[in-house]
Amino acid sequence: MIRTEGLTKVFRVGFWGRKVTALSYLNLQVNEKEIFGFLGPNGAGKTTTLKLLMGLIYPTSGRAWLLGRELTNAAVKKEIGFLPEAPYFYDYLTAHEFLRFYGGLFEIEKNLLKGRIERLLEMVGLSDNRHLPLGKFSKGMLQRIGIAQALINDPRLVILDEPMSGLDPIGRREIRDIILKLRSDGKTVFFSSHILSDAEMICDRVGILNRGKLINVGRLDEILEARLKYIEVIAEGVGAEVVSKIDKGVMTAGDRIIMRLGNEQQVNEVIELTSKMNGKVISIIPQKESLEDYFIKEVGTN
């Protein structure tokens, strides 16, 4: 659905035209019907990438294809929906006028458009505010009407720039639900975010970008698999003898002892000891690294 080859953008900033590389040699592939999260800290080049894909800025070098066609063709955009970062819309338009205007840009047939606007307003929960000017919308409402405009053409590929930033937990959840619904409708979603927990919940695959370079890409469980942090064992009715066997991470909570063990051999030892002492193992939970831990480690060391 999306493919880039050596996509590079160098900006010239300031009076002397100092060169700043915002994105360097990005090779990326997004497959059909997946949710792809494009992650990275602020200033990593996420928005630059999306703007390049949408033809808002031109690449310094490299090429990109959307839906198998090169970007220079405006017709490609017929099947794409785009939500920019922190969108500002026409304050003077009402929600309904706004969607009608964007529908007009796709030259959607009038009756078809009418039904679609109703459905989209319903889907993003703005049916009651259809005649309110966008200037009076809250941030969450703007984000939702922004998603509605991105879907006005019933696109196959939806590109969202930071769809969840600046929203409260309920708003973020609503956006997550919308994205999941898009996938179940058979659409491909490509979105950028720095809110990792959200990405972790919904993405099939992620790409991690830092300082203009793609540092990892793949399925989330693959990226995080090899990174078992510890195994948490909770046991009851065991004495200090067990505890002395373990060198780190012991906490007591009432009768219970919470142990953090490094590997399975240690776990077996603890279980054996516990049963010998007529204690009880309550739970054994392997703790994997979260995307956030990974992120801080990777991005922080760079």
């Binding site: 949408m54 808002l56 017929k78 969108p87 338009l93 205007f101 796709f106 030259e107």
Partner: protein
């Protein structure tokens, strides 16, 4: 078709703009007050009314063209509304021409309102509306079209404030071009003559659209002058829009 969608939205944008109504209000006030001013003169009352009326339509029309025109594109870039437009299946030139067309509609409606006010004053004072007045108003509208195109061009690569300054400068110089050329010829310095000639041909000669004096004083008009002026205006607009499209096409929206 997409150009029309953009144009209608631009029209909607401009009619919801407050500055427009302020300017329109003062224009009608000026036209109305010409009745009062004309009573201060002995005889020649119709000339005063015509003079003030046409001048008001001209000045306020130009002010509307500049102050609404400069924001047309630069505001879309500053407020990032353009991101959602350009990401739709629309070419950049369509967006630009749509914006221009939309403002022309707004200007047409405004000018019509001012003209209605002007004619109402003439009728109330029982003076005639002459065909020459219509010609003068037509040329005023062509001048507005030229100035709007200039404002739009600046607006594609610089901020609203700078566009306003540049466009007003061009407007003022555009009315003094004839003088500049004559002045250079008097100096006789070949370098100066060359520079003034270059300016004369590059900048819009807005005096071509000014026949207010002739109309007010009932001096016969050469019909070919009006036709040539209109053609000159249209040619100039085409050139300006072409350069705007080229600039806008290459631009990164950061």
């Amino acid at each position: 078709m997409k150009i029309v969608v953009i144009a209608l939205n631009t029209f909607r944008e401009t009619v919801r703009e407050k500055v427009l109504y302020n300017l329109l209000f003062f224009a009608l006030l000026m036209i109305g007050s010409s009745v009062l001013l004309s009573t201060l003169t002995i005889g020649e009352q119709s000339k005063i009314i015509m003079d003030i009326g046409l001048a008001s339509i001209n000045i306020f029309g130009i002010l509307i063209a500049i102050f609404v025109g400069i924001g047309l594109v630069s505001k879309e870039i500053e407020k990032k509304t353009i991101y959602t437009i350009i990401s739709k299946p629309i070419y950049r030139y369509q967006f630009l021409l749509g914006k221009y067309l939309g403002l022309l509609i707004t200007l047409f409606v405004n000018t019509s309102i001012m003209v209605i006010g002007f004619f109402a004053v003439l009728l109330i004072m029982s003076y005639n509306i002459t065909p020459d007045m219509i010609k003068a108003i037509l040329l005023i509208y062509v001048e507005m079209m030229v100035v709007t195109a200039v404002a739009l061009m600046f607006s594609t690569f610089t901020t609203s404030a700078l566009s306003a300054i540049f466009t007003i400068s061009i407007y003022v110089i555009g009315h003094l071009l004839g003088d500049l050329k004559a002045f250079a010829a008097k100096l006789g310095n070949p370098v100066m003559v060359f520079m003034m000639d270059a300016l004369y041909y590059i900048l819009p000669n807005l005096e071509n659209f000014n026949i207010k004096g002739e109309v007010v004083h009932n001096i016969a008009l050469d019909p070919s002058f009006i036709v040539m002026s209109v053609l000159y205006g249209l040619l100039y607009i085409t050139m300006i829009l072409l350069s705007s499209v080229i600039i806008f096409q290459r631009r990164d929206f950061k």
